[in-house]
């Protein structure tokens, strides 16, 4: 597959996944948001553990609230 058709395929996949997300119920969208939050916090924690920037204070508050 050449790079143009690969980009076209990836763009198509992105559009399909975004249109699926937009069509979800509010409850499902909120649940997806919660998954995103967990993934984002994990990314911040890995960054900190590897000597990068510390986890921002707001995200620490989020983690304490969600995982008491």
């Amino acid at each position: 597959m050449d790079s143009d058709s690969e980009i076209a395929e990836l763009t198509k996949r992105k559009e399909i996944s975004r249109s699926y997300l937009r069509s979800q119920t509010p409850e499902a969208k909120i649940a997806q948001l919660m998954n995103l939050q967990e993934q984002y916090y994990e990314m911040l924690a890995v960054r900190e553990a590897n000597g990068g920037k510390p986890i921002p204070a707001k995200w620490k508050k989020w983690h304490a609230a969600r995982h008491p």
């Binding site: 996949r13 399909i16 996944s17 948001l33 998954n35 609230a65």
Partner: protein, 203 residues
Amino acid sequence: MGMRSRRSSIIARCFGFHDLKQMENSLPSTKIGEILSVLDEMRQAGIVDKYAIGGAFAAVLHNEPISTIDLDIFFLFKEKHSSLVLSLDSIYEFARSRGFSFDHEFVNIHGWLVQFVEASHSKLWSEAIENAVVLSIDSREAFVIDKEHLVAMWLFAGRAKDYQKIAMFVDAGILDDERLTNILARHELLVKWESEKWRFTNG
């Protein structure tokens, strides 16, 4: 493989799952219904009058999930406050009585960081609350700021993250242009829209 099945398979793999069933079964319980109950209690107790969900959380409901840590509640007090500095003491007092922890920024309600934003000082924010749309979440009524008022509020705020959300709404094609123009005109934001719209549109 049929078209529909292929589409489902692509969606699931985009999110790291084998199929849609597995993806949907992995979704956590949100507890938003319980938060809506708390907001109803606050209204019944006369602590807040009208309210509407705003900010990035509202963007999630109208469009697609984006990461945000908090749940913004724009509200109006039942009583008109004469003081220049509005106090959220009654909200914190309610939170304390219900055992919810809080600091100056957030109230922790069932694991969500809820930020209460009093809106009476802004005609745009007050109008946004008055015109909130009603969505059903966990079989409860949820008042949510409509898409066009959200865009006007983000345009007014003018931070990079606000412009990103406007761009997402424009890209999704979910805005009512006439309604948006009317709101922007009413709140003297049309000039700013014209000067900034290159950020959100291809034209």
